[in-house]
Amino acid sequence: MGGKKPTGVETKEGITDMLFFFSSVSHSQITRLYSRFTSLDKGENGTLSREDFQRIPELAINPLGDRIINAFFPEGEDQVNFRGFMRTLAHFRPIEDNEKSKDQNGPEPLNSRSNKLHFAFRLYDLDKDDKISRDELLQVLRMMVGVNISDEQLGSIADRTIQEADQDGDCAISFAEFVKVLEKVDVEQKMSIRFLH
């Protein structure tokens, strides 16, 4: 890792994270990711800013582009170092078979099913109240569907969605309900990038 700026490995949490993540990722992949990190880092200061991410062309046309970028930046900060970069990407590592049988005492690995879902949930839930409210859902739907659909239609879809998922009657989707709804979806496969294998 670059020696110019602290990469955050110094903290204990950082070390355990990195060790865990890197222990099962091959050397070539780390190098590859690091070179990607440096190629994105136009300012050459060892961190990425939001503009660096926005320079990626495909991300600009991705409906969720902004939210994904925000997910990389921890609360309130504007720069992300390599550790943070890797930490976010660690969620997308495929789940190894041998990890499933690992002892449950340690902290849950970042790429467990629950943590993957939590990552996705946080992208919906902008105000961080642990609930996807109707408005948040509407915003996401609007981003995914484009401008041609009327608000009322989207509203009815959102209502229907919440109605289907909502079990405790609070007109919002909590994390538990979110998990339940996606129980049939193969999240381990869907939310994994093979290249981080």
């Binding site: 995914m144 009322e152 290249f195």
Partner: protein, 797 residues
């Protein structure tokens, strides 16, 4: 019940076989008779039949040689004659198909047997019996001719499979499927062929003359997993989708390999030497055959999609386009010796999303049912004929050859699967467990394709064809009977994950799309061009260019999510009506929004409410009594009769009750009805076609509540109240006839204080979460009936 059914089956069998045998006999007779009109009638036929047959050709001859005149003595004019030869072929075909269908029906009656034994086994047994009977009578039973099989019996099954292929799972596992199909089949063929050659060399005098190439040909014929057999068996055991698509996909895609190997070895078996050039050419031809087949299929699929864009005025023949273009794709591919199966699959997959966006709902249903029907009948016929051909064919049983074939087939399959899975698991995110591997190996069933391919071999070059045929039939029987019968208990024993029957919910759809976008974004950040990246690119290309060309009208701009949502709502609405009651669907129905893309016209929605049980009972009662009257009402529609006495009472009571509940509960109500979009298939689908009975209930059901707003019913105070509110809620009721197809057009209401606009309020027994109100399903009424001007617009509005 089982015994009675068995007896019935016996009678059915005899009933069918009688004419069949008679037909065979008659046909033999007819040929004899037509040659010599004066010849004696022999065989099975009775005398009068014979004379009648003599008479008929005689009469024709008399017509032809009228100049001959009265050289022959005049017979009495035949009031009743039999001319079997005239209808022989269609008659016999129909009898066979009828036999197949009756058998299928019979098996479901004997449910105890069909639980243990898969249908395919029973059908083969029936075929054996029928073949045996025909032989016993002395006639020659028909053999499954390869032409008939490949041109008529196989395509419907493959088209059915391809059209309804679960594309998402297929593409996600495409790598695995391809490796199993290509490498697995190659391995099987060569392993088996090589080992059989060794066996032949060792096996004694009877086998020594079979060369290496002949054995390799045999190996390539028998190594392919058969889609028909796999479908037949896997359909009944309901295993999880991953395994199903793996085995089934493999059976489909290995056709290319089989075709290439078959032709290759067939050609080479005549030459003594195989040069390197031949091998390279063979390798090349594999790519040509498979990619060429896919290419042909894609072309036809696109043409079909394009054609369907313009079929809005001839809805009735829309399904025919789908079938014809697919069949043409198959035939064109076979014409060039390309892989017909891959062409068929490719055309089905390509045309499906666009065709479904363009055609009417009824055509969609027609396509689905015709495909299922044809493929079902085909499958049944194939298995029956397999049985019959076994009896009919000439066999040459050689213990060594047959037993070793069987053994090596199994060994090759197991080894192949094990090795390939070990290799594939390095690249898969979700690994294949040993249980999965076992099922994949065990599901490698052989079937009629192998039989037909062997049958195609000609005798001169392959004089051991009979032995091959015998061995192939043995392997087929073994796999279908033993493996087919035991796979179900094994699946239960191993606790393999079964298929989840539930439908996809809107949540899943939204969240999977969300995850797709998320993963595409992450891949872009990583700079990794993976699965999601290309899928996203393809989707964008599709949306930007292809959809515009191939989908008619405004549906081309409809986002996938909206289309899915509409489809789901439509399905539920139809289910709701067809089930005849409102209580069956749980309280999750909310809004049905009809497509409205252009922001200029006011978006309208409709709402499906949920009602408490007693209200539902009321409505059901009313509907039931009303339904009987619908036909009459069609003729003598009178706007006023809808608010006539029979159910007005019940409605008023309901209104009273509602008032009370309404006061207890404020709810948000959207009372809207779709704007007019006549051309939009969604809208016309909403009308549920032109079947009067299909939509009759709906106009009554939804609009009855509105009707009671009609001030013509002065009894209840509420109904006087409501009309005043109706204009507010139903603000845009079209007064003019030309907008009359809109039925009721209402604007969405703002959240209202209690007791205002809600026509229906959910009972307090319903779940506390907000419920949607009025069920205003599609209102197709106005369009169809000339007398109905604006039927459901309350008077005075």
């Amino acid at each position: 019940m089982g015994a009675a059914a068995l007896r019935a089956l016996h009678w059915a069998l005899l009933l069918l076989l009688g004419p069949l045998l008679l037909g065979q006999g008659l046909q033999a007779n007819a040929t004899r008779v037509s040659e010599q009109p004066w010849g004696e009638a022999g065989g099975i036929t009775a005398a009068p039949l014979a004379t009648a047959q003599e008479v008929h050709p005689l009469n024709r001859q008399q017509h032809n040689h009228s100049s001959d005149g009265h050289s022959k003595p005049r017979k009495a004019f035949p009031v009743l004659g039999i001319d079997y030869s005239h209808v022989r072929i269609p008659f016999e075909i129909s009898l066979w198909i009828l036999l197949a269908c009756l058998m299928k029906m019979g098996f479901h009656v004997m449910s105890s047997v069909s639980k243990v034994v898969p249908e395919s086994c029973l059908l083969i047994v029936v075929g054996l019996l029928v073949g045996g009977l025909i032989k016993a009578v002395g006639e020659k039973p028909p053999i499954l001719k390869s032409d008939i099989f490949f041109l008529f019996l196989l395509p419907p099954i493959i088209l059915d499979a391809g059209y309804f292929l679960p594309l998402r799972q297929f593409t996600e596992n495409l790598g695995t499927i391809l490796i199993f199909a290509v490498v697995g089949t190659l391995w099987n063929a060569f392993f088996l062929g090589g080992l059989m050659y060794a066996v032949c060399q060792i096996g004694g005098s009877g086998l020594n003359h079979i060369g290496l190439l002949a054995n390799l040909l045999f190996g390539s014929i028998i190594s392919a997993v058969d889609p028909v057999a796999v479908l037949a068996v896997f359909e009944e055991i309901h295993i999880n989708e991953l395994l199903h698509i793996l085995v089934f996909g493999e059976s489909l895609l290995n056709d290319a390999v089989t075709v290439v190997l078959y032709h290759l070895f067939e050609e080479f078996a005549n030459f003594e030497q195989v040069t390197i050039i031949d091998i390279i050419l063979g390798f090349l031809s594999f790519f040509v055959v498979s990619l060429g087949g896919v290419f042909v299929g894609v072309i036809y699929g696109l043409i079909a999609a394009f054609t369907s864009r313009f079929t809005s005025n001839i809805r009735v023949i829309e399904p025919l386009f789908v079938f014809l273009y697919s069949y043409m794709a198959y035939l064109s591919a076979e014409l060039f010796h390309l892989s017909g199966i891959m062409a068929l699959i490719a055309s089905g997959v390509v045309m499906r999303p666009y065709v479904e966006a363009n055609i009417s709902h009824k055509s969609h249903t027609t396509i689905k049912y015709f495909l299922k029907m044809w493929s079902s009948v085909s499958e049944t016929l194939i298995f029956i004929f397999l049985g019959v051909s076994t009896v009919a064919g000439q066999h040459y049983w050689n213990w060594t050859f047959v037993i070793s074939t069987l053994l090596f087939c199994l060994i090759a399959r197991v080894l192949g699967v094990l090795v390939l899975t070990w290799f594939i698991n390095k690249f898969r995110i979700v690994k294949l467990t040993p249980k999965d591997q076992f099922i994949i190996a065990y599901g490698g069933l052989r079937g009629a394709i192998a039989f037909s391919l062997c049958y195609l071999l000609d005798y001169e070059h392959f004089n051991m064809r009979d032995m091959f045929l015998t061995a192939i039939i043995t392997v087929i029987f073994f796999t279908v009977f033993v493996q087919g019968m035991t796979i179900r208990p094994l699946v239960d024993l191993l606790a393999v994950k079964k298929k989840q029957e539930t439908k996809r919910s809107i949540n899943e759809e939204i969240h999977t799309q969300f995850l797709d976008h998320l993963l595409t974004g992450i891949e872009d950040i990583c700079g990794h061009y993976g699965h999601h990246h290309w899928k996203d690119k393809l989707n964008r290309f599709n949306k930007k260019y292809v959809k515009k060309c191939l989908i008619a009208g405004e549906r081309s701009k409809e986002p996938q999510l909206i289309a899915f949502y509409h489809k789901m709502e439509m399905k539920q609405a139809i289910e709701l009506v067809e089930s005849g009651g409102l209580g069956k669907i749980p309280s999750t129905i909310s809004a049905v929004s009809i497509q409205n893309i252009s922001p200029k016209t006011l978006p309208v929605e409709r709402v499906i409410p949920t009602l408490s049980k007693d209200k539902e009972e009321e409505i059901r009662k009313i509907l039931r009594s009303n339904l009987q009257k619908t036909r009459q009402r069609l003729r003598s529609y009178n706007r006023h009769t809808l608010v006539a006495d029979p159910y007005e009472e019940a409605w008023n009571q309901m209104l009273l009750r509602r008032q009370k509940i309404r006061q207890a509960d404020h709810q948000n109500a959207y009372l809207t009805v779709p704007a007019n979009k006549i051309d939009s298939p969604t809208m016309s689908r909403a009308r549920i076609g032109s079947d009067p009975l299909a939509y009759e209930p709906k106009p009554d059901s939804e609009n009855l509540p509105i009707i009671t707003i009609d001030p013509a019913s002065p009894q209840s105070p509420e109904s006087v109240d409501l009309p005043n509110k109706v204009p507010k809620g139903c603000g845009g009721l079209p007064p003019s006839p030309e907008e009359d197809e809109e039925g009721l057009v209402m604007r969405p209401k703002e959240p209202s204080s209690p007791g205002t606009d809600d026509v229906f309020t959910p009972g307090t027994g319903d779940s506390p979460s907000s419920q949607r109100m009025l069920r205003c399903l599609s209102d197709p009424g106005p369009r169809q009936e000339p007398e109905e001007g604006e039927p459901f617009i309350p008077k005075g509005q």
